[in-house]
């Protein structure tokens, strides 16, 4: 039997326009007004009881330190381990260091289900509790699941809406890209960032709501509302940036990136947690740096009524100071350009990715002066409010990090402060050029993606 093969178009050419249409809708979508959202989120938080208590690492259930290495692991062998990392870069103010690191080799799914309602794409968002969120409940993607999660290593309830992302042909894939997460805290971790579109009637469960891209943009102007998992997916959405041109061709920028990669030599080697230099167990049962810098590795006991399992314990990383991540922006020939930094992070799979212009925890650079100070840090930290186009506090993945808040900014610069011909390691990209790159994995780091999500959703317009 021979059947006629139906060829498809390689690309859904309507997609960028449909996304832009959704991003332009603010105030109210087909289902909920943005003004109602805060009340809805509070209601969802109130509908369930959550409790997070600190416990010594030694008192975690099902987690224990390996006698030989001190590495923390779950008895199932799944989820993640906390190990040590030794990094040698040979450059900058910190050319070599050791630290604890989260090793999570499984590839998880961060998935957004979208659907046209009244002709406008709506995104199925979830009010989700994560123990590390400063406010516990934030707005998450439809699905946020480690492989252990969705293969049921914890023997809990099924992940809702998961089959839209795991069963081919259940929905139309709009994007699916492997993206890294925090290279300072994770060893070569990445997740699939997925958006799929359905034609099904989907009745949102209690914790879920349909929002337009523009409504999500409104929420991205608020502190600690849209979680990291949602932000990173939104950053990958192929938006139609209407730009007359760019300072450099895409080929030039790709070449600069390849040259940046080749000029750095980074060695990152996992070592036993118990041998990490400068870190030790503290009286409260956590693992801390000798100056109490960077983060603590600590334990929590979590009780919740609406998660796949009702109670559990786990380690978390708790940063000791607030981070700062900022893009400088300039207009060249009236087209906005963002200054990207080819950054080394010890946990990157391949040495560098593009980050924002500035990405530091300022506290750990206070003792440095002159040429040792990171470029542009002071410019951002002391920026005239009139130059600040975006300034919002977001927190990082609350399933691994406790109160990991960072201040995200977009700051106007000029030729005197950020020249068109920038210093080595930096280059100007239009938002459209970064949008093209981020459709592939491992070019753009998670902090830069948070800022790109603000652009994609029109939370800020340059």
């Amino acid at each position: 039997m021979t059947t006629e093969t139906v060829l498809r178009a390689r690309h859904d050419l309507s997609l960028p326009g449909r996304l832009a249409k959704s991003a332009a809708i603010t105030g109210a979508g087909a289902v909920m007004a943005t003004a109602e959202f805060t009340g809805w989120l509070a209601e969802r938080a109130a509908a369930n009881s959550f409790r997070v208590d600190r416990v010594p690492l030694s008192e975690l259930d099902a987690w224990s330190a390996d006698p030989a290495t001190g590495n923390l692991g779950h008895r199932s062998g799944k989820f993640f381990t906390v190990e040590g990392l030794h990094v040698v870069t040979g450059e900058g103010p910190f050319p070599e260091w050791q630290q604890p690191i989260i090793n999570q080799p499984e590839v998880g799914i961060l998935g957004l289900l979208v659907k046209e309602i009244d002709g406008v794409l709506h995104f199925l968002m979830q009010a989700k509790m994560e123990p590390g969120n400063p406010n516990l409940v934030q707005l998450s993607p439809t699905v946020q699941a480690t492989r252990s999660n969705y293969t049921k290593a914890h023997k809990g309830a099924a992940v809702k809406y998961l089959d839209y992302f795991t069963e081919p042909r259940r929905a139309t894939v709009l994007l699916d890209v492997l993206q890294s997460e925090h290279g300072a805290w994770f060893f070569r971790k990445f997740n699939r960032n997925i958006i799929v579109e359905t034609q099904d009637e989907v009745v949102p469960d209690d914790e879920f709501c349909w929002l337009t891209l523009g409504q999500i943009g409104e929420l991205l102007r608020l502190d600690n509302v849209v979680n990291m998992d949602a932000r990173t997916i939104l950053a990958c959405a192929p938006m139609p940036y209407d730009e007359a041109g760019a300072l450099r061709t895409d080929a030039d920028l790709r070449s600069w990136y390849a040259a940046e990669r080749s000029r750095h030599s980074v060695q990152a080697r996992r070592i036993p947690l118990s041998s990490v230099d400068g870190w030790a167990a503290a009286d409260d049962g956590s693992i801390v740096h000798e100056r109490d810098w960077y983060f603590r590795v600590m334990g929590v006991r979590v009780q919740a009524t609406n998660r796949e399992v009702a109670a559990w314990t786990q380690p978390l990383f708790e940063p000791r100071a607030m981070g700062l991540a900022a893009f400088l922006v300039r207009r060249f020939g009236r087209v906005p350009h963002l200054l990207a930094h080819a950054r080394i992070e010890g946990g990157f799979l391949d040495a560098i990715e593009l980050g924002p212009t500035v990405q530091y925890t300022p506290k750990y650079y206070e003792h440095l002066s002159g040429s040792q100070r990171p470029p542009f840090l002071d410019l951002v930290a002391t920026a005239d409010p009139a130059r600040i186009r975006y300034d919002v506090v977001h927190s990082e993945e609350g399933g691994r990090f406790l109160n990991a808040e960072g201040r995200y900014l977009i700051v106007e610069a000029d030729e005197a402060t950020a020249p068109a011909d920038p210093p080595p390691g930096y280059h100007w990209f239009t938002p459209g050029q970064l949008n093209t790159l981020v459709s592939h994995g491992r070019y753009v780091n998670v902090q830069a993606r948070t800022l790109l999500a603000a652009l994609n959703t029109y939370a800020v317009e340059l």
Copy 2:
């Protein structure tokens, strides 16, 4: 002082057409007829004297085995080392193994200089001797240099035309992409694959000649003429594939790739060469597998009159049997599609890349039967000649591998032998879809790239 910023178009939209125009020119370019080429190459080989002698590893100059690990290294600490690798995949007929591996963390440059001559893009190709080439001299890119090479670790002569690739703005970058090399022999190695275009008058040195893409395609129909370094760059050229559609959207295929990546768990760990299980020193001073399978690690002494240094010794890997790499091709809706395989190789940076449908050294699978036999291997190995569209022997990088020949094929299949809905791990891509993917690094492996080079240069038309 304010100057008007001149924006550029992000892409050279004329490039695919200009490449296609060059690919269509066969028989003679502006400088040399293809018929003259073989004579020219022989002349270049005769103009210089080369001599390659086998020597025991222990008699290499400047190379020695580390007393603690047995790892082979150069006294400068540069070039590469030969170490051990322990790989665990937990799947297939070989779920775990150890082997020697080349560790070359430096990122080298494989560069092609192109120029429009009489309105047609010509490629500056080089007749280059590499000690491992079965015929010593093959056609290479303009520049082929490790970072040690071009930063002069060997204190030799400068690499010709190098500055076109290392000095920004010396030429126009057409592409620059980090691509992996053989994951079975290299630990996470990759090189920059670069094409730059110049407007300069370039007088080719004795070893260099200008050829059109079509002429290179003619040479890609010959055994052992166009070297691997040239092939991998040519594979990345953005050709205009005129296809009415595809079986699957690009987003579907990217999603399939991400799902393939996430379902495999590969652990690859470097170990001391002296501890590699099943490998040992042989009487001739090489390192061999207990069954004399796979490859030998052996030494050569090289004498040459036209290389950056006149004489040197080095280790090489010498495969013990010929490899086979083949794409199956089918037409769906009259559009050709190639069956790609998401392959695990122990030396890949990130577990998998897309390879040809079949990529094996058949000898090492002879003992396997039934479901243990790799899919499609027998189909390719016993293909009716009438179904074979391409069948050429190419050799791999002669700077690291001795007589590493592989037979490269493209073979027609049908629904009975290769269904439209293929087995797990396989998917159908149009050449245009693979061409889009290969413009980014680490999606498409080096064997698949050799076959894509044959398509890009019209060595074979499907």
